[in-house]
């Protein structure tokens, strides 16, 4: 083909394509509904479950011989469970729920609550075990001598109790109480579980089971996660379209697919789903992300939105705000902790939103409700500061940070809750420190003696790390990817909230966003030249007007 002919072909093809785009049925392709409610297989399954005695399981635990006894301790319950579920203990022993270590991250020893990671809430687990490990799926992790190889220390019930009467004592190192006990901090009385009644009804974990720990991270409802709190136990559609109790009613495992007690999700440096695999394309994807069900082109009527999925995570538009019902803690300043009232006693102060603004044990808090996320590039992995890392105290120290960037094809712009705080560090060694916060009356724990130096010395000695004896407070931040509380489509973030000069995308680098970005020089020059043209023609017209007047006078 001659060069000239080819360029004419190109022009013709371009014009033809334009005509098709202008007049063709835009977005008519791929309109198949993936909701699948009408799928015959699903109907059959639902009918089977509705049948008399029908359940999603073939066992009625109330009829099992091994469970027909009065259990004296929760360990006895576990032994009974394991007498049938022969592989369960081994599976649990290899899960992060048990080890509190990410064995796929780095050397497998540092990343995790039981490793060297720290956060800007209660900072770290070591030396504070009895308080922190009430959320462990084991019994009696009260210090570093806990036996991780024990089978009967596994707590099956905290995940599998469907009666929701099973409770662990908040400061009990993961143990339920043996007799009615009042927890002084909340005034709530904890009762010994009725094991026989509970084991008769064990089943698959529901949202409340997972929420027992994950809603209350940081020691209270909605403290850590802005998108995961007790409002997610029975959410309405407006709070979460998937978990809507009157609608799809997803359990946590619907997305956090589980195999052999290994629950899919993001773990420190391990992304939840390293490949953006779609269940609609590959039946056997074991980890589920939005795309698994919705594909990479989920929008049927508004196709422009589909163009965004290469750079923007679904969550960025579909979780317009987090903490939509319960306020979440946005800031925690440890440097003001330890103040006493007129009687020389620790005190608490109530703040707005019905949440405390000050606690002598912990310092100053800021809570927020209906929070707009901050946006960062994210490839699914987080980098974590270790207590052994050297820090630069002149700036804000990130306890963790999203990994990714505009040039990483696996990165997307993702919404985050950024929790900000001030916490102690070693001013000589330039490292973060682990303070001993929770301990008995004779201990050097901060919540006992309100002495930072003693608390840090005790905590650092516990983990066998150096402490110079000099400490200060440094500004810190901690990132939580916002991925729950997916709002109905009508509430998705409107285009203009990102496509504007000072919108949600302000400061997100490496991408040209129409409406946000421009060349200031070109814009100024362009408007300047337009104004000059306007002035020029106005001047020309004015001289025409004057000269005509002059001619008319003559």
């Amino acid at each position: 083909m001659r060069q000239g002919t080819r360029s004419w072909f190109l022009v013709a093809a371009l014009v033809g394509a334009a005509a098709l785009m202008a007049f063709g049925p835009v977005g008519a392709s791929g309109t198949a509904d993936v909701a699948g409610d009408a799928a015959p297989g699903r109907k059959l399954a639902q009918n089977a479950v509705k049948a008399p005695g029908g359940r999603w399981t073939t066992v009625d635990h109330s009829k099992l011989e091994a469970l027909q006894k009065d259990f004296a301790s929760p360990e006895e319950v576990t032994a009974a469970c394991l007498s049938c579920h022969t592989q369960a203990a081994d599976q649990i022993h290899h899960s992060i729920h048990w080890t509190w270590l990410c064995d796929n991250c780095g050397d497998g020893k540092n990343m995790g609550k039981n490793g060297k990671t720290i956060n800007n809430f209660c900072i770290a687990v070591p030396s504070n075990e009895p308080r922190c490990t009430s959320c462990h799926i084991g019994y009696g992790w009260k210090d570093k001598n806990f036996d991780f190889s024990s089978n009967t220390k596994i707590d099956c019930l905290v995940c599998h109790d469907t009666t929701h009467t099973y409770e662990k004592y908040p400061a009990g190192a993961g143990n339920p109480v043996k007799e009615p006990t009042v927890f002084p901090e909340s005034g709530k009385t904890y009762l010994p579980p009725d094991y026989k009644k509970i084991v008769a009804k064990v089943g698959k974990p529901d949202r409340v089971n997972c929420g027992t720990c994950h809603f209350y991270g940081g020691g209270g409802d909605a403290v850590k996660h802005g998108d995961l709190d007790s409002s997610m136990a029975m959410p309405k559609k407006s709070l979460d379209v998937h978990m809507d109790t009157e609608g799809l009613n997803f359990t946590c495992q619907r997305c956090h697919t589980t195999k052999d007690h290994q629950i899919a999700g993001r773990l420190y440096t391990t992304p939840a789903a390293p490949e953006r695999i779609s269940l609609t394309e590959a039946d056997l994807a074991s980890k589920i992300a939005c795309e698994s069900c919705h594909s990479a082109t989920p929008h049927k009527t508004d196709v422009k939105s589909n163009d965004h999925t290469d750079k923007v995570a679904c969550q960025s538009c579909h979780i317009p705000h987090f903490a939509r019902i319960i306020p979440t803690k946005m800031s925690w300043d440890w440097s003001t902790a330890g103040q006493k009232n007129a009687e020389g006693k620790p005190f608490k102060k109530d703040g707005p939103l019905g949440k405390p603004s000050y606690d002598s044990k912990k310092g100053d808090f800021v809570w927020e409700k209906n929070v707009e996320p901050e946006y960062r590039w994210f490839n699914g992995a987080m980098s974590h500061k270790l207590v052994t890392d050297v820090i630069d105290p002149s700036g804000v120290v990130s306890m963790n940070q999203p990994v990714g960037g505009p040039d990483d094809p696996k990165s997307r712009i993702m919404p985050f809750k950024v929790h900000r705080g001030k916490q102690p560090y070693d001013t000589v060694n330039k490292t973060m420190v682990i303070p001993h916060l929770f301990g008995g009356k004779d201990s050097d724990a901060f919540w006992t003696k309100y002495d930072w130096k003693k608390a840090i010395t005790s905590g650092m000695a516990y983990v066998d790390l150096p402490f110079s004896g000099e400490f200060g407070f440094v500004a810190t931040e901690y990132y939580y990817p916002t991925t729950h509380m997916v709002a109905p489509r009508e509430q998705a973030v409107p285009c203009a909230e990102c496509h504007s000069r000072d919108g949600r995308m302000k400061g997100v680098p490496g991408v040209y966003i129409p409406g946000r970005d421009t060349s200031a020089a070109v814009t100024d020059l362009g408007f300047g030249a337009s104004a000059a043209a306007l002035l020029g023609v106005a001047g020309h017209g004015f001289i025409r007007f004057l000269s005509r007047k002059k001619r008319e006078k003559k």
């Binding site: 005509a19 040209y512 129409p514 421009t518 060349s519 020059l525 030249a529 043209a533 020309h540 017209g541």
Partner: protein, 219 residues
């Protein structure tokens, strides 16, 4: 506006129905594209970003198609001849607009059937139709097809560069529009040229059929 020196005038049918339709259709497209484009750019707020994008994209693609028809028309009717640039009388026209117009001198190139545009107009409209508008269409289409660049084999191009190029084109069109609208007032009355673009009939000075500058081999 009456001139000091009266010359005989006559009315000629200058602009066909298609030309007038094309002119005003194009005018409407340009105006709306400018307004919605500057909204997408973040300079003004009118329809809201989403609406502005939708309207801008639709009009841009519509214009592509309409422009293809125009190109077809201009070549099949031979009207392309009206856009052949010439330097003849160019200086005179420039002197006229820069000086003569103030003293009421006659236009050096009165409009005629076979010469609807003076040399300055020929140059301007040719630049517009052959350079600026295609440039704007190509950059606009690239902008629109941004997500398909990889499939189209386009590499090493950034959206920022395309967007700013498209913006520069927009400013050039805006400046053309300002001057063009002003120039419509330079006829023998203020609205004479605008009226002609509706009726197709323009009142011109009676200077005979063929002007000297239009002749291929001037005597």
């Amino acid at each position: 506006m009456s001139d000091t020196t009266k010359r005989p005038m006559r009315t000629i049918y200058l602009y066909t129905r298609y030309e007038r339709f094309w002119h005003w259709f194009q005018a409407l497209l340009i105006l709306l594209l400018l307004v919605t484009g500057f909204e997408v750019h973040g300079s003004i707020t009118l329809f809201g970003f989403e609406q502005a994008v939708t309207v801008h994209n639709f009009l841009g693609l519509t214009w592509l198609v309409a422009f293809a028809f125009f190109v077809f028309w201009v070549f099949t009717t031979g009207e392309w001849k009206q856009y052949v640039p010439t330097s003849k009388k160019m200086v005179e026209v420039m002197i006229y607009y820069g000086y003569g117009i103030f003293s009421g001198q006659p236009h050096p190139c009165p409009k005629r059937h076979d010469a609807k545009h003076n040399p300055l107009q020929r140059m301007t409209y040719l630049s517009l139709a052959a350079v600026l508008l295609p440039f704007q269409m190509v950059t606009g289409l690239l902008y629109y097809l941004y997500n398909s660049w990889t499939d189209m084999g386009i590499t090493g191009l950034s959206l920022g560069v395309v967007a700013v190029a498209h913006l520069i084109g927009a400013f050039a069109i805006l400046i053309f529009l300002i001057v063009h609208v002003y120039m419509t007032t330079t006829g023998h009355t203020i609205f004479a040229h605008v009226k002609a673009m509706f009726t197709g009939r323009e009142e011109v000075e009676d200077v005979g059929d063929v002007a000297e500058w239009e002749k291929k081999n001037p005597a």
